[in-house]
Symmetry: C2
Subunit: 95 residues, 2 copies
């Protein structure tokens, strides 16, 4: 019996949602510690955040609570990374 | 009538999936052009890629074709970003 036959699809879904949500926490910590995010694409952050807003609308419309929670957490993390990038980008390079 | 009442949940879902997938293309282009991804967290990339693999298993188990396609594209983009980061990270800083 294969492992994916022993574990329910929902379990895979929950692990997947947890990982793709929490993944942005090490990025936030790295940006906070190094005080720079020059290599992080601002276009990616804007597109990703816009996508998350659409996921949130979708989750509300379909009453999908796990999708809603995962996307709100991901949104908060990415908004914070974007804010840090904008703050650190304004400071002079020599600082 | 509000705009979210005029548009079906599926439409919001498709726009959301498209945006959170294609968002990684500008990151890939930026990394390719600047030849560096120092500020991009490798822990984020590993966690995100692992999460995408779980999404792919979930999509196969539940026969969710749109989820499968979106996650395969996102996986290819993120694997490429990770590969570029590893390649550029090996080169001497002065190069």
């Amino acid at each position: 019996m294969r492992i994916d036959q022993l574990i329910s699809p929902d379990t895979f879904g929950f692990i997947a949602a947890a990982l793709t949500t929490i993944a942005f926490l090490p990025q936030l910590i790295r940006t906070w510690r190094t005080k720079k995010a020059e290599d992080v694409s601002i276009v990616m952050l804007f597109m990703f955040i816009t996508g998350l807003l659409f996921w949130i609308v979708y989750a509300i419309q379909t009453n999908a609570l796990p999708v809603l929670i995962a996307n709100i957490v991901t949104l908060i993390l990415n908004m914070t990374i974007l804010t840090l990038k904008l703050i650190y980008g304004r400071q002079p390079k020599s600082a």
